[in-house]
């Protein structure tokens, strides 16, 4: 009896507001581990970032740095076991997604947060028509009948620039080109008016011209609907064109954050600089393309200090001995590198001094 009385008091107070009121997604110290036969892979180890309502953030990093696992963790699509959420919180509008029950997380998936996957060729079911697949999510989240769902689907297809949407609804995925399929995926994602769109390497599998169209489309839709965008990519060119803020990841950690201009023009972490230098461009014609030497560290034998130190051209003893925190440099600007510690201001000066084309 007492429980029934107490329940309504607790029910309307589920949210723990996270900082400022306009934060949509706040990932705090997320740790996603995988327990496999050889041990534990700490795929994501203490990642924090946040996205404002309508904001655009890119998560950048090499393959295996944990950016996709971060995205899948937000959607709670990590299979547990072997996966494990070892710590942290993912606050979406103040509610922790990691502790949400299955029924509610299904409402969030697709309805509140939509995800666009990497491979348009394989993320549509080959034996279902395009229409059935788009309408399925609409029927689940929107509470409309089949006719209403079809109208929403048609409008979504028009919005993503698919010509003759009526015919498309009846087609099977194998009848469509890669770019067209990615448009369908985007139509699916936005058909339920999500508050956050996660695009996980959404343009990587497409060729460059289509890539650009799709990026512009995602951006246009994001601006029109006011949804926030989390763009996951390894392509810094894509980053520069699409988002406002960047978080660079390395070995399961965020190593640098800031606005696009700051991070791309004045990287404060040698890893980010290495990434930027390895982009081929007109100005570097005739020169040897620089690459970050070495490879991503073995996840079972991470170095004790800075995880990037073995590959870092600027490292010194401090880096070998201990790992830096994310050092705040300015407003929303931080880097996980000892160079930014006040004690090493001299080294920072010499880091900043040489031009990007310094010979190695």
């Amino acid at each position: 009896m007492t429980e029934t009385v107490a329940a309504p008091e607790e029910a309307p107070e589920p949210v723990r507001r996270a900082g400022v009121g306009d934060v949509l997604l706040d990932v705090q110290d997320l740790r996603t581990y995988f327990h496999v036969m050889d041990g534990t892979v700490k795929a994501v180890d203490g990642v924090s970032f946040s996205i404002r309502k309508g904001g655009r953030l890119a998560l950048v990093g090499e393959s295996g740095c944990g950016k996709s696992v971060t995205a899948l963790s937000i959607m709670r699509l990590i299979e547990t076991p072997p996966g494990e959420f070892a710590g942290g919180k993912i606050l979406f509008e103040g509610t922790d997604l990691l502790t949400m029950d299955d029924r509610h997380i299904r409402k969030v998936r697709g309805g509140e947060i939509a995800m666009i996957f990497q491979e348009p060729m394989t993320s549509l079911n080959p034996v279902m028509t395009v229409g059935d697949q788009i309408m399925e999510a609409i029927l689940i989240h929107q509470g409309v009948n089949k006719k209403g769902a079809q109208e929403i689907a048609l409008k979504a297809l028009q919005d993503v620039g698919v010509a003759d949407p009526k015919r498309r609804l009846k087609q099977y995925p194998h009848e469509l080109s890669g770019g067209m399929r990615q448009r369908i995926m985007i139509a699916m994602a936005l058909s339920c008016n999500p508050k956050l769109i996660i695009a996980d390497e959404a343009t990587t599998a497409l060729d460059v011209t289509i890539q650009r169209q799709i990026l512009e489309l995602i951006k246009a839709i994001q601006e029109r609907t006011g949804a926030a965008l989390l763009l996951i990519t390894h392509d810094l060119g894509v980053v520069a064109e699409t988002v406002d803020d960047v978080a660079v990841m390395y070995a399961g950690r965020v190593v640098e954050t800031g606005t696009v201009e700051e991070v791309l023009l004045h990287p404060r972490m040698p890893y980010t600089r290495g990434l930027l230098e390895s982009i081929p461009s007109q100005g570097k014609r005739g020169q040897r393309l620089s690459a970050i030497k070495g490879t991503v560290p073995n996840p079972f034998r991470l170095p004790p200090g800075c995880k990037f130190e073995p590959r870092c051209p600027f490292g010194w003893e401090t880096c070998v001995e201990s790992e830096p925190e994310l050092i705040t440099i300015g407003r929303d600007r931080s880097a996980r590198c000892w160079l930014n510690d006040k004690r090493f201001a001299g080294r920072l000066a010499s880091y900043s001094a040489p031009p990007a084309t310094e010979p190695r």
């Binding site: 899948l72 959607m75 699509l77 076991p81 299904r106 409402k107 969030v108 998936r109 697709g110 309805g111 939509a114 995800m115 996957f117 990497q118 491979e119 394989t122 993320s123 549509l124 079911n125 080959p126 034996v127 279902m128 399925e136 999510a137 689940i140 989240h141 409008k155 028009q158 919005d159 993503v160 620039g161 698919v162 010509a163 003759d164 015919r167 099977y172 194998h174 009848e175 080109s177 770019g179 067209m180 448009r183 995926m185 699916m188 289509i210 169209q213 512009e216 489309l217 246009a220 839709i221 029109r224």
Partner: protein, 315 residues
Amino acid sequence: MASLVPPINGAMTEDLDPGGPDYDVQLESLGQWQIAWRRFRRHRMAMIGSALFFGMVIVGVVGPLILKYNYYNIPVPDVHVNAGRPPSLSHPFGETGRLQWDVLTLVVNGIRYSLLIGLIASAMGAVIGTIVGGVAGYFGGWTDTILMRIVDALLALPLLFVILVFTKFLGSGNWISVTIIFGLFEWLGIARLVRAVMLSLREEEYVDAARAAGISDRRIIFRHLVPNALSPIIVSTTLGVAGVIIGEAFISFLGFGVGFDTPTLGNILAGSLGFISQGNWWWAFFPGMAIVVIVLGINFMGDGLRDALDPRAKI
């Protein structure tokens, strides 16, 4: 209706879409089933098999309606002669010994019930097997281990003895209970098959995409994955019909299956047991041939389906 996203340049849609007004090709691309049907039609053995099988189905469905005698109302002859009579014009398949029943009437009615038992039992097996295999393969882990160990345990039981025990409890001789018993054992193979297919299908990216769209596990299994696993299920179910028909004939012949009040090809053979030595070959030959034709037809058809539904096969 204008697009709601005007800033995207209009040329883009034309670039991408081959179905624009200028060059509307309208390539009628064939669906998975159309391609399979086309291959199936070209498969000679499959067509022979289908003709045999569906011919027998027609005999089973239409035959009892147009025959001179009704199985339940075959006139009892005045003179009791123990030996049967060989095929003649009025009784093309001959007459049985003891009661002098028309063998043609027996066989046609037997075909009807044998097919009915085979089809119902395999359909039951397909449904149960798909559900169990689908759930086990999709969820994996403990669910998978428990369900598959149950399957292993049931497969380890000698079917014949289990059926003997079951028929004792479920009312011996009733054809419906025999059908259910076969159905309850038919699903084991299909469950294993579906599980194996599911294990690979669940790793597909569209499963992640469906989950990310908030679609429930149940819907993903039965709406997204089972249709992808349909080809092996169809082949296995088809071949299962033949298996059940033979199995039923076998246990009915031994006298533990369907009783004599319902004719099946098996219990007609059982009736002929003492009379073959007297030279009454027709009593055993015609029902035996019916079994052979049905089973052969199904097996040819199943092989054809396997070839037609395999996307990698080139025929």
